[in-house]
Symmetry: none
């Protein structure tokens, strides 16, 4: 198994200003491609620190990916460090400048002088195409070790890694792993339900990864195991899906909103949404999906009682007698937005995201979810214990998307 190192460059990382999401993405992607990641080294924007990390990689690993420090400003030092370390002088690459100039023309802005710096690259570097931006990736080889350089902008970094680096480095007998996505069952309950996993599927290990979109289950070959093919993972996936049923909503990079969107499209159904406590977040997740305009009609964020009455036809009587956070209000909102949009389905949320507004009967973390369709209108409640308003909103939104998904699968909440 080839050994890999990852170098992440940036003072914003060594001073703790931002999480190192790039390092985590690179570690997972290289691991999935069959490499053994020995270490991730994060260093500040200093030529000697970067060069030192390159030297460490040269003596320990077969392949190294360096992320960050390729930009046009004076604190971007990676190119200078690579030029020094590999004794490769900088030369102006006209193709890079042409791409930059074309980019600025499209944006209808003059190109600032400092951007020309991005065309100055080590002579012996091979350029890697960046389908999403102007800064190319680089490949420099030295005595059979390969060093890849990618920008720190996450979307561009990911595109270069997926399109240019992984095809060059993926091992033929790659490390096998698979991710199953679950929602609605707490980690400890999942654990009890699939306690027998290692007996049922020897050679495959299981990791539980709880997060805002439910618990992800990662299945992978145990270290030293001979099972390096798909058969063991197929058996494992089949067994887990049997044990957990519809709690498994997808695999890999799927999302709850994406699965709901696929079901809506397959069933040729349209959707409108009425949100109170989630404040537009459900609508945001749904409209992230390309082509959502074919099944998504409208969303009403009805924060005030007046908005609930005027835009969603919730009655003053319901609001007064049951309260804004109640089964009756959730159902009236779902029905109201379905009728307003003339869609097949209406989905609604009303709850208390906090930090204020809770009472003993209706505490922070309580949400009512409504769903209206041609056969009737239903509601269900959830209690989530998020530490912040932001996290409660996210859990409410995910719960609502899961209600929609389960309804589309099973015609019930």
């Amino acid at each position: 198994m080839k050994r890999a190192g990852i170098i992440c460059v940036g003072d914003e990382l060594t001073t703790g200003l931002i999480l190192n999401g790039n390092g985590t993405f690179l570690a997972r992607t290289l691991t999935d491609a069959g490499l053994s990641v020995l270490w991730i080294k994060t260093v500040g924007d200093e030529v000697d620190l970067i060069a030192g990390a390159l030297d460490e990689a040269f003596s320990r690993v077969d392949l190294c990916v360096v992320s960050g420090g390729l930009g046009p400003t004076s604190d971007d030092k990676t190119i200078e460090a690579a030029s020094c370390y590999f004794h490769s002088p900088l030369e102006m690459r006209s193709e890079v400048i042409r791409r930059l100039e074309a980019r600025f023309r499209t944006l209808n802005r003059p190109m600032p002088a400092c951007n020309r710096k991005q065309g100055l690259l080590p002579k012996n570097a091979v350029l890697l195409d960046n389908s999403l931006g102007t800064a190319p990736g680089l490949l420099i080889e030295k005595e059979n070790r390969r060093f890849f350089f990618v920008p720190g902008v996450p979307a561009e970094m990911k595109a270069i890694v997926r399109e240019e680096i992984i095809p060059r480095v993926a091992s033929s007998a790659g490390f096998q792993s698979r991710m199953l996505l679950t929602f609605g069952v707490p980690e400890s309950e999942l654990y009890e339900k699939i306690l027998d996993f290692e007996k049922q599927v020897p050679g495959i290990r299981l990791a539980f990864l709880p997060g805002p979109s439910g618990v992800r289950l990662r299945m992978y070959s145990a270290r030293g195991s001979d099972i390096e093919n798909e058969t063991g993972l197929d058996a494992a996936e089949q067994w887990i899906r049997k044990m957990l049923g519809p709690a498994v909503y997808g695999s890999g990079e799927e999302t709850l909103a994406g699965v709901a969107a696929r079901l809506l499209t397959e069933r040729r159904l349209t959707l409108s949404v009425a949100e109170s406590c989630t404040g537009g977040l459900i609508s945001h997740y749904l409209t992230d999906i390309p082509g959502s305009s074919s099944w998504f009609n409208r969303c009403v964020v009805a924060y005030s009682n007046e908005a609930k009455m005027e835009l969603l036809n919730v009655s003053l009587n319901t609001l007064n007698s049951r309260g804004a956070v109640s089964a009756e209000t959730a159902e009236a909102m779902a029905l109201g937005v379905r009728e307003s949009g003339g869609t097949d389905i209406g989905l609604s949320t009303t709850g208390i995201a906090g930090p204020g507004g809770g009472t003993p009967e209706k505490p922070v973390g309580l949400v009512w979810l409504g769903l209206s369709h041609v056969g009737g209108t239903l509601s269900t409640s959830r209690m989530v214990g998020g530490p912040t308003r932001r996290i409660n909103k996210e859990r409410f939104a995910m719960a609502a998307l899961d209600v929609l998904r389960r309804f589309l699968l099973e015609n019930s909440l």
Copy 2:
């Protein structure tokens, strides 16, 4: 300024299963305590990798914090690595076992045999109190270098760092830094505008951190600089604010939505929002702010033309003659939602987030932003070049929040 290194141990990190939040916390906390963090090294659960990182720390830094791998299970290797590297044999610490036994008594559970392993610690290690758990932190000194070991459980790690480590290492003249937040000016243009920075404010360095919320400018004392007090940063902030004017929207942890919310509250103004291409994201950002219900009335996500006509009173004539993505539609939406909500201000977006839907005249990335108030209704357009639909939505939303902010500041777009 003392140099620090951070070592994070765990296969879950080098295989990319989880974000390294501990590394980021340690980097920020040590930086704030006046140390210069040279690197963060993340290694898997292997004795030789951990020992190698300890050796690197010994030769390069004054102080090192090692997080993770102190637990009771067989994949916890940090203690073994420390014992080897420092030639310090393990010995059973009865005080640790007594604390463990007391803990399990409190929980009313028998102590599993494997927990006894946590009492076996290097002979020359000083124990650091863990106020939240059973595994103590450790301090091992070697030739004036200090090595701190903390558990990987975030809450326990943070408690030991705050209570036991920082008081031992904080420099009396702490590291000074400050963050200014800008929006609406690209990184390279900002750079040109404040090119003279290092001449104007010697001893202070500047880092450019571009992101979806604009470019953040971090000012900090240069390494080895004598300026370790607030004076230099005050001068730097003043100079940058003078050069950039209202492009600076805030500092520190502020957000565009938060600044707009503060201005609305100060001026006792209320807001309604009409979104098309941003799909609810503006409303989501605004409702993240606790207490937003006092100034936020409603949002209408009008994805379909019918929704724009029915809920926002946009005329069929405007939609047919100018198109859904136009100054006229943006203004009609802003006015429509302001009248519907009965609020002081209406804010709107209509644009093309992609990947489909673009034309030569109205390409993907074009957005029209409308703002309606008692004095009239205005609109302005932006062209953003995000690589994905998701990122275009975010840039559109931020541009709209900035339009709102600038209007509240200056009464113009």
